[in-house]
Amino acid sequence: MRTRAQVNRHRWAILGVAVFVVLLALVLKSAYYQLILTQVLLWAVLSLAWNLLSGYSGYFSFGHAAFWGLGAYTVALGMIDLNLTPWVAIPFCAIVGAVAAAVIGFPTFRLRGHYFALAMLAYPLATLYVFQWLGYQELTLPMKRESAAAYMQFSDPRIYVLLALGLLVATLLISLTVENSRFGMALTAIKQNEPAAEAAGINTWRWKMLALMLSGAVAATAGGLYAVVQFVVTPESVFGMLVSAQALILALFGGVGSLWGPLIGAAVLVPLAEGLNAELGDKLPGIQGVVYGIAIILIILLAPEGVYWRVLDRLSRRKPASPVAPREAPAPVPIAPRPRAATASDILVLRGVGISFGGLRALDGVDLAVPKGGLYGIIGPNGAGKTTLFNVINGFLSPDSGTIEFAGAPLMGLRPNQVCRRGIGRTFQVVRAFPRMTVLENVIVGAYVGAANDAAAERMALAALDRVRLSDRGNAIAGGLTTRELRLMELARALVPHPRLMLLDETLAGLGHDDLDGILGVIRQLRDDGITVLIIEHTMQAMVQLVDHFSVLDHGRLIAAGKPEAVVRDRSVIEAYLGKKWVEQVRVAAK
């Protein structure tokens, strides 16, 4: 997130671009150059639309031609069949695009990674064949000589430049707003680590959907204006692979996930391609595509992050960034210590929970009652089903059988972000950080659940960092932290929405002796603040010192439960289920 001053600087830059384009339009004499200028602007809008979804959230779309094409056909068919002026039809395209995006997104967001990208590829191409079949091979917009302006038909091509420029400025402003809001932050979190975002209480599905709908609306609007400018619409020219490819190539060239990348890409590549086509197109018919291909391969080999990021890195290296003074952490917000219930009422109750993967019974009729307040430990060897248990509790997996109740209400069928909202925080065995965000931003993501506004979110995040004693590292990039700091940061992120129950997944694993003591102190502090802690580990040593209640999980079944001393002494249980080695460990731990 940027400061207000930085956002304002970008606003001025947008204004600067607008003025420059207007001047350019006045200077350029030939209608042909004006047309190229219009195309640069329109393709930049499409690429920005692509960037809104794919650049920020990391969900690559190979199918933005679907929206572009629907926009173009909305305008063309509206004019031909309904005598509808583009002045009305183009704004209407935004609705068409958003609705199409919702229809596409609803099923497609069940997929991730390669599968999402491939599925998106299919939509425009399937639509292309349908439009061919419907007989819309080539639509020409009817000429309206009497009321040309009313139908957006101008003899002066500069007016098209201005229309496209208006659309571009609007899109840039939308992107800037998204970038610097909770919306953009949520998308960035999704891009860097979706499960962590979901577990931190972000409704990932909703944000992805909003991004796609916004993106579809913008792309369809640009497609509508493209139809007016081009005058002729064919299925290949608006639904074709080249449209989808262009959207992402321009952004990749300029810099993915940046405000200016798509515009830079369009400004360089579109005139280059057009110019080559005009100069050499008759002798070498495909020269435009060849040079295009070579250009993007070169850029990826030489500056894979895109022109914008490369230049930015160069500049910031030459002029070392002024060290950001660590922001003062406010006095920690005291958490009202929840009175420990006199009767050991149970906050989390699992009854007969089971789940299978293929033939493997990962959890087999687990009954577990975690009393409110206190530290509850579960140990078990690798593969015992510990992480699966947590995934079932916090909603990543839904169990095949059994029930789960939290504070008296069933948890079954809730998505992870809803579970988080109910008051269950969790950490991961392999720390799921957002590696390119600062520590503070990582924690702020967790704060969105409970915070009324962004300022409150930051306040809560600072307080949480203070609780885990990590305030001094708030401005460090998460990618460069030590294991101990990462664990603490994740703890803070889970802590910030004030959970009533914390699930800690092997938080102690891989820590040295000195680090261990610090983290144990933090965990004990959580219990003393009234948070129930459920922790899983596969090493017994630290656990015996730490927890109040203790269970042993093996092969998906709970095989012992009780006070740690009691369980530990139950040699037969441990020997039978965990092997002799464990008995040794217990003896060492008991000393």
Binding site: P285, I297, T387
Partner: protein, 310 residues
């Protein structure tokens, strides 16, 4: 029913014959995706290069005319494999390897963008380079076989397609045996399964990827050579097959070679059977619909495994 049982059997047999060449190209793509996890947009364009290679070996330069009009095109299709293999080797060595491979896979985000854009770039270069070199006029490899048919009952079986079927199935079987039973093939599979672990086992993963990539495009080129005897083509033809290939590979389960083969076969059958109920122009739309259905209902495909670990 709007069609007779003869129509049905006719479409089914045509689907199996066409599907066998699809199956072979899917195997090619499946090897690449399975071992490198790269979405190769240029796969269809390597197919196109294979078609032209076979074309020039027979009709164009007439090198293989001594083999006669029946055997010539088959040999040409098989020779298209090594030619495109060599092309793939060079492109991997100088371009693709720079953005793929074991160390790049670790880089989060940036690596994936690089691969996509590089294969897109290759696709643009091959397509449009093909336009410059080969021209835009559609062409084809004429064989007497593709104009004659065997009659079995009421069903006509195109002889050219039957021969292609045999060659395609034999080639796919050869590849399958190679991957399963040779030292090199096992190394490729190990590198595909877990490139990190394979490095520790002393397998040169970059070399394994280069072989997988070249082999993948080469096999697809053989399929292209076979298809070239049955239909006309131009430099942009590759695109029609990209979707066929991805649909087949996804249907079979990303990463499974055997799955890719069956997936491709099923896609061929779906495409031909769809003509029974849908207008001819919509047969590719039928493939898309099947493709989407697979992705939603069973994304791990027929032979794939679903695995995710938190």
């Amino acid at each position: 029913m709007p069609f007779s049982s003869v129509d049905f059997l006719q479409a089914l047999s045509a689907g199996i014959l066409v599907g066998s060449t699809y199956a072979l190209m899917c195997v090619g793509l499946g090897i690449i995706f399975g071992s490198m996890r790269v979405i190769n947009f240029a796969q269809g364009d390597f197919l196109m290069v294979g078609m032209y290679a076979a074309f020039y070996l027979t009709t164009g330069f007439g090198i293989l005319t001594f083999l006669g009009p029946n055997a010539g095109p088959i040999v040409a299709a098989l020779l298209a494999g090594p030619i495109v293999f060599a092309l793939g080797w060079v492109l991997h060595r100088f371009v693709v390897a720079r953005v793929t491979g074991a160390d790049v896979a670790q880089i989060e985000g940036a690596g994936a963008y690089g691969q996509i854009i590089v294969t897109l770039g290759l696709s643009l270069i091959l397509q449009n380079g093909g336009l410059i070199v080969f021209g835009s006029t559609p062409t084809g490899i004429r064989t007497p076989l593709s104009r004659s048919s065997w009659e079995i009952g009421d069903i006509l079986l195109n002889q050219g397609r039957c021969v292609s079927f045999v060659v395609a199935v034999a080639s796919a079987a050869a590849v399958y045996l190679f991957l399963g039973h040779t030292r090199l093939g096992k190394g490729l599979r190990a590198a595909a399964d877990n490139s990190q672990a394979a490095i520790y086992m002393g397998i040169d993963v970059d070399r394994a990827h280069r072989i997988a990539w070249s082999l993948g495009v080469g096999i697809t080129a053989v399929a292209g050579g076979l298809v070239a005897t049955a239909q006309s083509f131009q430099p942009y033809v590759g695109f029609d097959f990209v979707i066929v290939m991805y649909a087949g590979v996804v249907l079979g389960g990303l990463g499974s070679i055997l799955g890719a083969f069956w997936g491709g076969l099923v896609i061929g059958i779906v495409q031909q059977m769809s003509t029974l109920v849908l207008p001819y122009q919509l047969q590719n739309t039928a493939i898309f619909v099947v493709f989407l259905l697979i992705i939603f209902l069973r994304p791990q495909g027929m032979f794939g495994r679903a695995s995710e670990r938190t």
